[in-house]
């Protein structure tokens, strides 16, 4: 499901949508970096995101704790951007 999701995002050909972006302490870092958070989709540029989309499947939900965690790691000045749950069909 997630792989197909990545392929669909890529097929849109939109340079302002990136999948699987990791942030830590305001830095854009390599995915899997200890202490980082992964944004499933970032809209905008990596350094200047305008929205983040979190892909959820099954009973999983985007929680306030998860939203706060993501926000705490975004670059300076982008802590208030929308963080939106998207659900796989």
């Amino acid at each position: 499901m997630h792989t197909e999701f990545s392929a669909r995002i890529a097929s849109l050909g939109r340079g302002d949508l990136q999948t699987e972006v990791a942030y830590r302490g305001g830095l854009v870092v390599k995915r899997g970096t200890p202490g980082s958070v992964r944004a499933d989709v970032v809209e905008g540029t990596l350094e200047r995101p305008i929205a983040i989309y979190d892909l959820k499947t099954g009973s999983a939900r985007l929680t306030p704790t998860r939203i706060a965690d993501i926000r705490s790691h975004l670059p300076q000045g982008f802590q208030d951007i929308p963080i939106i749950e998207i659900r796989a069909p």
């Binding site: 997630h2 792989t3 999701f5 990545s6 392929a7 890529a10 990136q18 699987e20 830590r24 302490g25 305001g26 830095l27 854009v28 870092v29 390599k30 995915r31 899997g32 970096t33 992964r38 540029t45 990596l46 350094e47 200047r48 705490s72 670059p75 300076q76 000045g77 802590q79």
Partner: protein
């Protein structure tokens, strides 16, 4: 895919076509005598171990961090995916090599010295207000011998860019003040401080001190 597997694949399928670069695990890179790390990282997807991205980036190593930083970078176009049985690895790596040559290396070639990095980083990143990028640019000017510009960017970082309400900014501010103090003593003190931080970053990233790379290494 495991990083060691990437290392072998990069050595076999990419390295012969990219000139004087090196491989460390899933990182294809060239560093410069003045402290830049210019890299293409092969980043496995968290969605599927057969899927990976190619991320080109340039990082000023004299800003002390313990991770690769993509702030001045570009993800190469395309989604690279192996079949689960691995039978198409040469073909996928050939596609990756083509993307690196067409898009990745031209990106890296914009910034081959600290001064070039300082001159282009804001344009590449599309912002001159990201604290980490401003920090890298300021110190790059200093390393590149442009002390006036370096001092100007360090002052701008402290006085205009950093927000006191952003917690990670405290560490950046502490470093910038240390550089400012060192600059007040002498240019050499400031350079020594930055070279010490570069050594710390290299150690954290397990990069050896810079030497001229050769394809045979």
């Amino acid at each position: 895919m495991k990083e060691r597997e990437f290392e072998k694949l990069i050595e076999a399928h990419i390295l012969p076509d990219v000139g004087e670069m090196r491989v460390r695990r899933s990182l294809l890179y060239a560093d410069t005598p003045d402290g830049l790390l210019r890299g293409i990282s092969f980043d496995t997807s968290g969605f599927s171990r057969d899927l990976f991205y190619l991320q080109a980036f340039v990082q000023a190593l004299f800003v002390p961090v313990d991770t690769l930083v993509y702030q001045v970078g570009r993800r190469l176009r395309g989604l690279f995916q192996f079949k689960p049985d691995g039978t198409d690895r040469p073909e996928v790596m050939a596609t990756a090599a083509a993307a690196i040559i067409a898009e990745g290396l031209p990106f890296l070639d914009q910034m081959t010295t600290a001064a070039e990095f300082a001159a282009h980083a804001y344009e590449v990143a599309g912002t001159n207000t990201d604290p980490y990028i401003v920090e890298m640019v300021g110190y790059s000017w200093i390393i590149g011998g442009h002390m006036g510009r370096g001092k100007g960017e360090v002052h701008r970082l402290l006085d205009e860019v950093l927000s006191p309400s952003w917690p990670p900014g405290r560490l950046i501010a502490d470093r910038a003040r240390a550089v400012e103090t060192a600059l007040g003593e002498s240019e050499e003190r400031a350079r020594d401080l930055l070279l010490r931080w570069e050594a710390e970053t290299r150690a954290a990233l397990r990069l050896e001190p810079h030497t001229a790379a050769s394809p045979a290494e």
